[in-house]
Symmetry: C2
Subunit: 213 residues, 2 copies
Amino acid sequence: MSQQRSPRRAPEPDQRLRDAERSRQQLLAAALDEFAAKGYAGARVQDIADRAGVNKQLIPYYFGGKEGLYRALEQSWLDQEAALGGPDMPFETLVGEYVHATLGDPRLLRLLIWDGLTDRGEDAPPASAAREPGESGTPSEPPDVADLRRRQETGEIAPDLDPALLLLAMTAAIAAPVVLPQVARRMGIDTSAPGFEARYAEQMRRLVRHLAG
Amino acid sequence: MSQQRSPRRAPEPDQRLRDAERSRQQLLAAALDEFAAKGYAGARVQDIADRAGVNKQLIPYYFGGKEGLYRALEQSWLDQEAALGGPDMPFETLVGEYVHATLGDPRLLRLLIWDGLTDRGEDAPPASAAREPGESGTPSEPPDVADLRRRQETGEIAPDLDPALLLLAMTAAIAAPVVLPQVARRMGIDTSAPGFEARYAEQMRRLVRHLAG
DNA sequence: GACACTGTCAACCAACAGGATGACTAAATA
DNA sequence: TATTTAGTCATCCTGTTGGTTGACAGTGTC
């Protein structure tokens, strides 16, 4: 957690009264909490600043406003993503890992979902990137889909399933307890119970097991 | 589209300049659009009124304000739910139906998701309903879970899967293209393509087929 | 046709949001 | 230490939000 300190000078950053980087990080952390909890429209810069323990003016100062803060948050997240995902571990294990990562700290997932809900078709790839009629299909398939396709050839996944669609479905399935807590509750599931995370992970592993060739 | 009209009296409701019920319905319809599109916090009463073609004041007038409108919407939705779901059709077909219903008109689903995201643990069942230590488990299992459990006994679903958890996961999986359009896009999936709905339905059917005993 | 009632609306209002401004001061530098 | 720079904040400003008010007009009744 704490950064290496040169033995001579360099006062402990966490003790300084003023520290731009620290303030920035605190704002980012608070923003993650707030945006994940209430979404962009629902979040209040005042609340974010309060949570971070700084003046709300620092948000425009450092990030150029609420939206800038949100973008910075997305960025800092993209930077550190892709931490998970071993190509050599069995798919079943991988899925279990994702369940734990997701349910352990749902904030990033919630951010993702909110992003999905407010998604406006987004910018279509620039006209220059338009594909010619000849070259059909996948434009530089993302690594995770490719990995899944590989597993399919290995026989780890049934051949009648589309890797991309499966990945999409599995992602949502893993996210289910976070996205639909009220539905879960209606089904008599207590997503906040102590053992739930492990139980759901096990369930997902079993489900994946059924998808083998 | 147009409603049957009794030949004698009963002035065509759609022609009257003033019609409380019509205004109410138009507001509900517009509210469904707006809330589904932007969520509660993001929706604007002005936009809802504009879309409904009435003055925004009618929202407080008829529904007691923005929140009242939202609750009324939830209510009118609960009233007409449970339309789908034949206990006799194969699970696989049922899932396909849900995909079509969901992707055909994603508004209700989006409402549900937004509800899930803004869900605050909600009111725990009143203390009087607390279960004694003796009677463990499912408090009056909801019909859909029970149905799934029945299918499991029939051998339609593998016995190692928990019906409730499976239902939760499947619900989310079906919803995936609506909830995570940006993720789909990143995977090279075009959820707005003409054939997509059928393609995804087929995929979900195949997936379910793998879950049979 | 007169009248009361209900549906509708334009205009106004208070609360609150996010952002801008300028003062103050700790930290860095000479 | 003197001076500059950068970090922080209290205060104000403007736009927007949901809601209220009161006038007015369509509708049904006698």
